[in-house]
Symmetry: C2
Subunit: 720 residues, 2 copies
């Protein structure tokens, strides 16, 4: 007998008491919550066991903001590149920026805090040679070098909290713009703590304080047409202030340049190999954020309430896989579930009692409108998230946005009822025990490692990018596979070698990016350690442009391990004799269609005669396997997410680890289906990851098998 | 009344007297020639006005070669990269090489002449730490760094002339392998001159000495399966010898390292930006070759014969667009015509009285066999070459290979009759006057400039490469267009600025290659000069990855000029708002099918709001136009050769030059047709570049027009 209630949080709002009461039953909700712009009434709060109340620490109090304009948050921004047509160059620094969001900060001397750079030579222009005119928002450079390009890196005030701005514009609100205040300023810090105490006093009915989030938002900048201009979910552009930079200098012993934060206009995107300066800045802010966050959480606990952090919005510095996170002492983390990857990003978070997922679609008018397909979005979201939940569960689920919008879509309301039931069933059957995992770990190797656990190859939370999906598919496939996954950096390898329990290392990405590793592959310790490890039996999987940095006649630095190389034009004179292997191979045993390599990779060729090329297109190698000593390596040109590619990756991992023999444990024959087993709970489940009916056979741990049929998106639980 | 005879050279051979006599009439041949492995009889030599006799300077005399094994030619080769599994590494240096072609040179102390390099660190291994074992052809490194990669750069004797090897293997010969001797050795030099004098004495019937070629072959290395391993038609790997290197040191004042020639195994491919050391080496050898070649040519002239150089084979150092070529004093150059580009490579050669083209297919068994299509190959070859001849004619034509093979294909013999007639007609009508050209030049800008005139984006003479055809198409299109074309290097721009008569600059290629320019784009003088020139009205066309080298926040360094930028992963956070222009545009006015961009280019985006995007695919910009001051710029993602793309490029050039108004002079409406006019001769011709009948209208210089129909591959001459 399954529980029909619990584990579900409902977004509620004033005026919908009747509907909410019905939904609390239908969805089995045991908690209600408010949202940005909504309030809960006493009546609503009485409907469920728990009440969540949102709390913004650094926005929402316009009075404080207005009274302390000198303590608003900043960011460092860069102007466009401007070409000098004459020796006098005028750079309109606000060109392309949204003046409702950005205001150049002239209260702090531009000559001290800004940087004008000749981008042709890379030289900083002496402050004596330029001036800023606030009326026109222009920097004028005298004595410019004609036909060189110049930029201005400037400090600006944030006039509008970016998430409030986003919600406001997306939902067509007509509200006052929330300004954000910076707790690096002692008065604001004190205010925040006092305000929290008052707030806690004022919210006796609140059980869970939903912190959205702590202090500094990820980078989200709009353009002069009020459209998104720059978004980096991992960005630190909005964490700066003159005060923080001065504190940094005291703590770290050196001064940062604006360029350390502006980074040529790349703003230290996670696709960049992080500089020491940027890592130091992250570390400095993480420490600051975690210390103040801990004070806040302690206070919340003092009032007998739980502290739940939203993974998103003002989350800069709270990175859950970073080294200071555990100090904060949070009870829970809630985050948006875009797919399996982002589910694992939440569910794998350590040092909290539980995690909660916010499922898609958000109840926003972009989906909940005539012609919208909220059921379709919910199905896709659930189908991808479910795989991940079976491997590493979140404890609770919920939805975001504005309930009134969802109520107009009864099919959606019905479908959510089914999903919430299925979610509870998973917990009931698995009894919070661990699902079966292979006896070796899979490591994703890149320049970031642990702190970006389930966060590699992302620009913005779960958003599709043409340059990413062919790599992101690896994460998405892995999110629902029976492997423990570890994210490892090149520094980890240099400091600790490769952990004993790692069976396979995956390196995936475009050359030059942090994900592939760029210059890390010139490090002799890195390449030597990996070569030795593979030679002694390790498995190495490269996707796209792995181990790539042109050096000493080689582009893929581990061409010896991979057995393939990429032609970048310098060795076109070398004849390439790619030869597709005619033997059947373990890793392709379940392929029934041409492999979808996504954006794929051109010009890869067989560099060892012994390499087995398993797939070629237009003369280029797309899949190849190689043996290196006792170890094995696989190259794949790209791996977008699909059930077929998930199976390809599963087989690739077992083969690379030289563990083909154990793959067939809790394994299904039909690639559209997967099995998760809970040996301690004595249960296993088989799921259908497609919209069609599927027949499949499950191989159990003892070698016995069972055939079954699953409805579209269906699932069946069995006793072991 | 057209001449039915003349301008044609026939490859002849002993025993085919009757057939040759017939063909002399049918093809109107006025010259016969021998080939590698064939001889002419007195009877044959009497059939035509002129007799060509091949002459090899550095091969063909096995007695000399065997008696002077210490004066054979060398090359510098690199072993494979070998990974150190232990501290003792064994590198089989001959692995992958053909022992009938390559023999490691131990007569010159390997410790002095070879280099063992740790390719992980780039460090040279001390000669004390390695030893060479000639029995096993292995280098053993002691004290290697485990898991590093090592190579051996070694000096080797050439045991087999590469062209003789190629002919021998391709034609299944059973002949003694020609060895090549090196005229840097004084005895061999003297021998060559003496031999030449004897040869001239012995060949009283020879009118034209066809030099094949002077002294050093381009790089052509076979592998251990006797298949092509490495081919670089521009290569200098076979120009080295200890003696020449010692002379170099005296002349240039410094010593070259093996690495300067081996270049990490890239062997200074023309796709590499040339190093100063390599340019010095080329200069040194060009000077040497031209001086000795002049002595040979003077001697030939002494005997009243013409000296004709074959552009190919042992042509290293004779570069016809190099600065020493004119000193040689040649009468003529003959070369293989692969297409329009290679025709222009020959026909534009300065400082000779005439040029001759060797048309395809060669009479070799790879084409002249059952199932072969010699007529098809001849048609394609002629159709592409004809366009180029009309703009810059060769004076003579001919075929290569073995006549006996062609005689079995009567359709082919018939088709050649038509082609030779058409060729003579062109000369009769044009009366050797210049065809009409636009009043501005088109410059191709790359790292090589003039010396590689019509030679950019080539690996091996006219051979298709996947990485090249999308750029090579520009040359092929240009070869038959009414423009004077100039090849310009970055150094030219730095030293001389941009010549007055240049209207349009084209920069095309993959990032990192010499054709795109790589680090040349970091040179402030280069970018400033071009920006200023465009701003004042110049036209700039970028294809593929023009002006590309990641620096200071930009990948395309002239993004301001081009109006587009390429995303390489670092600025994915920046939103891209590519918007296809809805206006019709001059450059696309003749497009009737989706443009074929060949390998194309991904991730290019609009970087200026003012840029007009004319073509997009999957969100990426494929064609864009931009205005920069008074000048204009066009970006195209790739441009393989086709009549449609030729028209696109024609329009692009006129538009970029701001000269749209004058395009319609001797211009045809149908893109499958073209017109060439000879104002001084009072004639114009219209050609059909397709295998279908075409209707077209020609616009004459005075604005009048004429409609006509052309047969497949047809042509019509008119009086102006």
């Amino acid at each position: 007998m399954m529980l029909k209630k619990g584990r579900v949080t409902l977004p509620a709002e004033e005026g919908l008491e009747k509907e909410i009461s019905r939904l609390v039953d239908q969805w089995g909700a045991d908690a209600v919550r408010d949202s940005d712009g909504t309030k809960l009434t006493k009546e609503i709060m009485g409907m469920t066991d728990k009440v969540y109340s949102k709390l913004f620490f650094t926005r929402g109090d316009q009075e404080w903001a207005k009274a302390n304009l000198d303590q608003l948050q900043h960011f460092y921004l860069m102007s466009e590149h401007v070409t000098a047509h004459t020796e006098k160059v005028v750079i309109p620094i606000m060109k392309g920026y949204f003046d409702q969001q950005v205001k150049p900060d002239t209260d702090h001397d531009p000559k001290e805090w800004w940087e004008v750079i000749n981008r042709t030579t890379g030289e900083v222009v002496s402050p004596e040679d330029w001036s800023y005119h606030d009326e026109t928002k222009e920097v004028t450079i005298d004595n410019a070098k004609k036909w060189h390009r110049y930029t201005v890196s400037f400090l600006a005030w944030q006039l509008w909290d970016p998430v409030h701005m986003y919600n406001h514009i997306t939902n067509n609100w007509d509200t006052e713009h929330h300004m954000t205040y910076d707790p690096h300023y002692p008065e604001t810090r004190e205010y925040i703590l006092n305000k929290l105490r008052t707030w806690l006093e004022d919210h006796p009915d609140t059980d869970v304080v939903r912190i959205t989030t702590f202090f500094y938002n990820f980078t989200l900048v709009f353009n002069d047409l009020a459209m998104e201009k720059y978004v980096d979910w991992f960005g630190y552009s909005a964490t700066v202030s003159p005060l923080a930079l001065q504190e940094f200098e005291k703590v770290k012993g050196y001064k940062l340049r604006p360029e350390d934060l502006v980074d040529q206009g790349y703003y230290n995107s996670p696709f960049r190999t992080p500089s020491k300066e940027f890592l130091d800045w992250m570390d400095f802010q993480q420490q600051f954020v975690s210390e103040l966050a801990k004070e806040c959480v302690d206070l919340i606990h003092e009032y007998g309430k739980e502290a739940m952090m939203f993974l998103g919005d003002h989350w800069a510095g709270t990175e859950p896989y970073g080294k200071y996170f555990k100090n904060i002492g949070l009870d829970a983390v809630v985050g948006s579930v875009g797919d399996g990857t982002t589910l694992r990003m939440i569910s794998d978070i350590p040092h909290v009692k539980y995690t909660e997922g916010r499922f898609l679609p958000y109840f926003f008018p972009d989906t909940f409108k005539e012609g919208g397909d909220p059921v379709g979005e919910a199905n896709q979201n659930w189908m991808q998230a479910r795989r991940a939940i079976l491997r590493s569960p979140i404890q609770r689920m919920g939805y975001g946005g504005y309930l009134s919008l969802a109520l107009d879509f009864p099919d959606f309301v019905k479908r959510v009822e089914e999903i919430t039931n299925e979610f509870r069933e998973i917990h009931d059957h698995s009894k919070e025990t661990s699902s079966y995992k292979a006896p070796f770990k899979v490591a994703i190797l890149n320049s970031w490692g642990k702190i970006r656990t389930w966060m590699s190859h992302h620009v913005h939370h779960a958003i599709w990018y043409k340059q990413c999906y062919s790599y992101y598919g690896i994460l998405e496939s892995l999110s629902g596979m029976p492997f423990d996954v570890e994210f490892m950096s090149f520094d980890d390898i240099k400091q600790n070698g490769i952990p004993e329990d790692v069976g396979v290392i995956i390196n995936a990405g475009d050359a030059g990016t942090s994900w592939s590793g760029d210059k890390a592959w010139l490090d002799e310790q890195v390449v030597s350690t990996i070569r030795e490890w593979v030679h002694q039996g390790g498995g190495f999987i490269g996707v796209g442009e792995p181990t790539a940095h042109e050096h000493q006649g080689e582009f893929f630095q581990l061409a010896d391990v991979l057995g393939v190389q990429k032609e970048i034009g310098y060795s076109l004179s070398l004849d390439k004799y790619n030869k597709q292997s005619e033997e059947a191979h373990f890793i392709l045993a379940d392929q029934y269609e041409p492999i979808d390599f996504g954006e794929s990779m051109k010009y890869v060729y067989q560099s060892n005669a012994e390499t087995k090329v398993l797939a070629m297109e237009e003369g280029d190698v797309k899949v190849a396997v190689n043996e290196f000593g006792e170890g094995r390596s696989v190259y794949i040109a790209g791996l977008p997410y699909s059930p077929e590619n998930t199976r390809l990756l599963l087989r690739t991992i077992y083969w690379a680890a030289s563990e083909e023999a154990i793959m067939q444990k809790w394994h299904t024959t039909n690639v559209q289906t997967e099995c998760a087993a809970y040996p301690e709970a004595g249960k296993f489940v088989v799921i259908n990851n497609s919209y069609e009916t599927q027949q499949t056979t499950v191989y159990k741990a003892d070698g016995s098998k069972e055939a079954l049929t699953l409805q579209p998106m269906g699932y069946k639980w069995f006793d072991i």
